[in-house]
């Protein structure tokens, strides 16, 4: 039913991702789909990489490690932005189209009143894409 699953990941907070990574892998096995790990990073030095190239290297090996661990085809895509905080949602929507994903699996926080003013990335993503979105609560 699904052919390509997109999983947005932030390599700086890998421990918070464990649940959605597992779910994505299980679904990929079930649908025989490919998983694509997508990251958005700033062009300035950050915790994961001092340069976008360094981040990309880590993302690639992360994707490979995930693929081997779950025994399924995996890919990755790095998006470089000069203002990731503001542009994240739009960039992810664009990435869905670019990689041709039909399912997005991503972690999100519990619903909260603040969401009315500042919706979560998952909220916004679901609003702007044709792909199915699976929001994983912690």
């Amino acid at each position: 039913m699904y052919e390509k699953i997109m999983v947005p990941v932030d390599l700086a907070h890998i421990d918070a991702l464990e649940k959605s990574l597992q779910i994505a892998a299980d679904m990929a096995r079930h649908f025989k789909a490919e998983v694509c790990y997508v990251s958005v990073t700033a062009n300035t030095p950050g915790p994961v990489g001092r340069t976008p190239a360094e981040y990309e290297k880590k993302l690639t090996s992360f994707a490979e490690a995930q693929g081997q661990r779950h025994g399924q085809p995996s890919g990755c895509k790095l998006i470089v932005s000069h203002d990731p905080t503001a542009d994240l949602d739009n960039l992810l929507v664009k990435a869905i189209e670019e990689i041709g994903a039909d399912l997005v699996v991503m972690g999100t926080h519990l619903p909260h009143k603040v969401d009315a003013v500042m919706p979560s990335h998952g909220d916004k993503l679901a609003k702007h894409t044709k792909a199915s979105v699976f929001l994983v609560r912690p």
Partner: protein, 555 residues
């Protein structure tokens, strides 16, 4: 209370053994064990997520509050103190500011001409993030947009006035404010001298100050891989110690200077805009109008901050660029066109001829001018430099050093010359040609409107003027909040949005509190006082730039 960002290699499947990777093409990274954000405190109280450098954020926030409360509570005691500090600094250390300014200009020219100019910010293969127009608009809007509106007419006029009046002596000390040897009674010479002195303050020197900070930051961040905060400039000097208290203090100083510089300008800008509204629409000025203006500017800035760099500050800067250009074109066409064109080259020439004398740091006969104007300006530009420099650095990745310096130093200087010639020249010409006294007599914040009042379509142009003032303030407040947020987040540019909004509100809040409490003058003195320690930061920056560039691969 410190909750270190997870970076345990044993738990992290992404950690791979590696040499120093190339960023994008050749560049030479600095190898440090410091992980960006390792000292950060992350939490999400009430569903609002935070990612801040605990010490820098907490101490700057507390010090800011403490300072505001103190200034308001002990206004009568504090104001003379700050004014005394400011006077002492600009009169006793004028030579230091002026000398440092010259060093910055010489360094920039040296780099443009040297083979080091070929090095690309962000690695030899890096691609620019912004188009020339977007990049240039942001450079300009962040750097001096508002000042050009305010001083474009008033400063040439002031120098012209002082120069025309000639020198005055009292007990062997010059008491006049004229630049250099003045030009008593000679309107032509006084006009030229006034323009040259103004261009001196708005030309190469301020932009060299910005360029030094911006280049140092960009180099150590994009090429060397250090976090985008002021402390990174000190890495060649302090080494790993920049991640400890010496670095914290440098960053706090930067936050302090930026915050107070911005709040002061926000307050002053509100008084200008409100004066303009009174002039144009007869809206009563006063505190209520100004508080509403600050609230308005802050809310527009908040919307722009939330929209991000691309959709917020870049778009506003471009709109403002177009508006400013239209206004300039209008003055060019409707004003004395030929005079402005010939004046442009004449003023440029007078500037070049007088540059050695104007920038001479020692044995100045025109003490009032060199201390009260030049040294004051230099301290002011320098106290703004962490903010403008950091913003320029952030949007300049992918340019070569030469391209960067030409764009940050030469192009804006030429635009300043043209702007000053058009606005100041027209006003001076109104006086010389028709004996119009309106501009001379108008209050400082009304001089622009008085000049426009003599040209046709005055309602429209004055309104455009007010809009420009307001939008320039929005872009300043917006980019300032971005910068403070990055510094207080330990160099992270992807910290959560609420932090940016927080700083924008703080800026507006300080401006309102001090406007109502009457502490703005003290604050301006305070902002200028931060110029002294920052001059040292900039001198270190010069050393760091040369050292950093020399270690970059060339060719």
């Amino acid at each position: 209370m410190e909750n270190k960002t997870n970076h345990d290699p044993s738990k992290d499947p992404t950690e791979i053994s590696e040499g120093v990777p190339a960023p994008e093409g050749a560049a030479s990274l600095i190898d440090t064990d410091y992980v960006i954000g390792q000292d950060n405190y992350t939490a999400s109280p009430l569903g609002i997520s935070l990612d801040i450098h605990g010490k820098v954020f907490a101490i700057s926030a507390i010090a800011t509050l403490f300072f505001v409360v103190l200034t308001l509570a002990l206004q009568n005691e504090v104001e003379p103190l700050f004014n005394a500090v400011r006077t002492w600094l600009t009169s006793n250390l004028a030579w230091f500011f002026i000398l440092a300014g010259n060093i910055f200009v010489l360094l920039c020219f040296g780099l443009i001409l040297s083979p080091l100019g070929k090095i690309r910010i962000g690695g030899s293969e890096a691609k620019p993030d912004f188009t020339y127009i977007g990049w240039f608009s942001m450079l300009f809007a962040a750097g001096m947009g508002i000042g050009l509106m305010f001083y474009g007419v008033s400063e040439p006029m002031s120098h012209f006035d002082a120069a025309l009046a000639g020198t005055a002596m009292e007990n062997g000390v010059r008491t006049d404010w004229a630049p250099l040897g003045a030009a008593a009674g000679d309107t032509e010479a006084a006009a030229r001298l006034g323009m040259a002195a103004t261009i001196f303050h708005w030309g190469l020197h301020p932009w060299a100050i910005y360029a030094v900070v911006a280049l140092a930051l960009a180099l150590f961040s994009f090429n060397k891989g250090l976090p985008l905060t002021i402390r990174s400039i000190f890495y060649p000097l302090l080494g790993e110690r920049v991640w400890g208290w010496p670095g914290h203090i440098i960053d706090m100083l930067a936050v302090f200077a930026t915050l107070f510089g911005l709040a002061t300008s926000l307050g002053l800008g509100a008084s200008q805009a409100s004066a303009g509204l009174t002039y144009l629409f007869g809206i009563p000025g006063g505190n209520v109008t100004m508080v509403l203006l600050i609230l308005g500017i802050t809310s527009i800035a908040t919307v722009s901050i939330v929209a991000g760099v691309d959709k917020g500050v870049k778009r506003l800067s471009e709109i403002n660029m177009v508006l400013a250009f239209v206004l300039l074109l209008f003055v060019l066409v409707v004003g004395p066109t030929m005079l402005i064109f010939t004046g442009f080259f004449e003023n440029l020439w007078t500037y070049v001829v007088n540059l050695p004398a104007l920038s001479n740091p020692f044995f100045r006969e025109d003490a009032n001018f060199s201390q009260g104007w030049t040294a004051f300006y230099w301290a002011w530009w320098i106290s703004w430099s962490p903010f403008v420099g950091m913003f320029i650095a952030r949007v300049s990745r992918g340019r070569t050093v030469r391209e960067f310096l030409v764009a940050v130093l030469l192009v804006p200087s030429f635009v300043s010359v043209l702007w000053m010639t058009a606005f100041g020249g027209t006003a001076i010409n109104q006086f010389i040609g028709t004996g119009f006294e309106g501009v001379r007599e108008a209050a400082l914040e009304l001089k622009l409107f008085a000049m426009l009042g003599e040209l046709p379509l005055t309602e429209i142009t004055s309104f455009v003027g007010i809009v420009l003032v307001v939008v320039f303030f929005v872009t300043s407040s917006d980019s300032g909040s971005l910068v403070i947020d990055t510094i207080t987040a330990g160099g992270k540019v992807d910290a959560p949005k609420p932090q940016r909004v927080f700083w924008a509100f703080i800026e507006g809040g300080i401006a309102i509190a001090l406007l109502l409490g009457g502490g703005l003058v003290a604050l301006q003195a305070m902002a200028v006082s931060t110029g002294l320690p920052f001059t040292l930061v900039l001198l270190v920056g010069c050393y760091a730039i040369i050292k950093g560039l020399l270690s970059e691969p060339r060719g």
